[in-house]
Amino acid sequence: MIGTFRQSMTWLHTWSGLVFVWLLYFVFVTGTLGYFDTEIDLWMTPEVPAQARTELLPNIAVAQARLQEVAPDSERWFIYPRQDRGNPHLSIGWLIKDPPEGESAFRRESLDPISGAPLTEARDTGGGQLLYRMHYLLHYFPARIGYYIVAVATLVMLIGLISGVVAHKKIFKDFFTFRWAKGSRSWLDAHNLLSVTTLPFQIMITYSGLLYTLGLFWMPFVLLGGYGFDMERVRGLQDIIGGDTVEAAEVAAPLLPLDTLAAGVDHEVAFVTVNFPGDRNSRVSFNPPNEGRTDVVGSTFSGVTGEPLVSESRLPLHLPGLKSGLVMLQLHQGNFADTFLRWLYFIAGIMGTAMVATGAIYWVKSRTPRKKGIKVGRGHRFVQRMNVATIVGLLTAIGAYFWANRLLPVSMENRAPWEAHWMFLVWGACFLHAAVRPMEKLWTEQLYALAGVFLLLPLVNALTSTAHLGNTLPVGDWVLAGFDLTALATGVIALIVGLKLRPQAEAVAPIPVMAQ
């Protein structure tokens, strides 16, 4: 568009990046936290005691007894019998009939594996799940709209990655180039270094993100056209891909003990579903963990006679195209990751976040006149201030979300929504602050606020719960202690950067010193 191919790609990279950079930053931050969603859940429900791993079969029996008691008429039961990272407590779920307007029909409960009683009612909280969901649904938007906005942003991200690679003169050299404290040049080096070293991760996460957000349904013409726009044949796909089509017989028949059925299953069981429990057509499916591999299909049995049935999922997994797509999606989620790999994901996510942030800062730095006293344009000032309120302000707001989790009364009505309201109220305050304060003080002041919020968070935790460092460190509970320690580290880093960026007393004649 302008000059050479590389120049036009640089242009595209710069301007498409600028328009979406703050949204992408939000997606990167909340998505990165999503890699520790369950850990954050645990921190945000400190009254729920940790559960030791118990045997699978008794767990299933306990769960069945509880479901029989609490949801005998439900159409569908779910049992999550394994206590593992993604499901720290033995838990059950069921569908209720005719849920209240605007509410999900899904109910979930965690159980004590010995007594079978529901665990202490946890406080009403959005937990880490809410942060995780924000990265593809945003907040305050109808889910579909948020999803579409993120889809567009993801496409722009992919364009940014490709045009960014093209814009580069020497991608290899960037591995080894960092010029410290050289003004805008340093920011560009940082941006390049972060992007180049993590490029495979960024491409994977963006492309698989596109598969999620655009899915099959943004390109319907490929699907519909592939079947000659013959809707009958397209609907026929449901039989191939869709789930169970068997209806209830409306004839009561007792459900077999699920633990006996499970004893005959020759693969790992991550969750159990029961369709129409107590009906003659009831079906029980034992599903393998859906992470890490695509070639294990679950086992399905009749819930009355126990005879094996054709497995519920009939996804055509023999197709390499579908398989590679599923692998991309699993790579995106990283559910298979153990602690070490999970931290690696987290760090790669932080580097992606920093890549986005340094890009935004470089835009400003490279356009700031060298000489003092030259007025910059309104657009420039807007970006400058937006950068502070987004890059620092969002993190402060997330800290406020954690504060609200501890400080809002446990019995409060609409508690979980208010936790999120506090997050966005504080973020709004950061924008206000960025709009009115003098530019040279903005970074420092907001960084101090960020440091304060995160350095005090473990203290607030200690004053309001028993899940604080004094208790968690001695027993080596690294999930809960890790949260507080990460908060402290965030606060310390914010404080150091804030101190570094504090406005120097420039009036104290620096020139004579230079002249000596």
Binding site: M1, S8, W11, I159, S163, M219, F221, L223, L319, P320
Partner: protein, 98 residues
Amino acid sequence: MGIDSKRSRWHITGRVLLGTFGGYLFANSVALFLVFALPMERLHAIITMTFLSFLLWTVAILWVFSVDKVRSVAIGMMGSTVLCGAGAIVLYSLETGA
């Protein structure tokens, strides 16, 4: 970069629109043509091409912004969209014997 002038502002709007909507049609049309042209099981071709159509869309947008004259891209993109669409129709009718 001349983004301050009114003319080039329209230029950019035009490119954004062409990349977004033209690129979308282009991606769908090329993908659909390949669904019929590739020697694969139909469902497999559909899944594969749907996954790759996002890349086609991306490439189309990069194309729009990489060329000097918008008009030449517009013609090239619309042309290949129509050609691939027509090709898909031909292959489909050959297949169904219509």
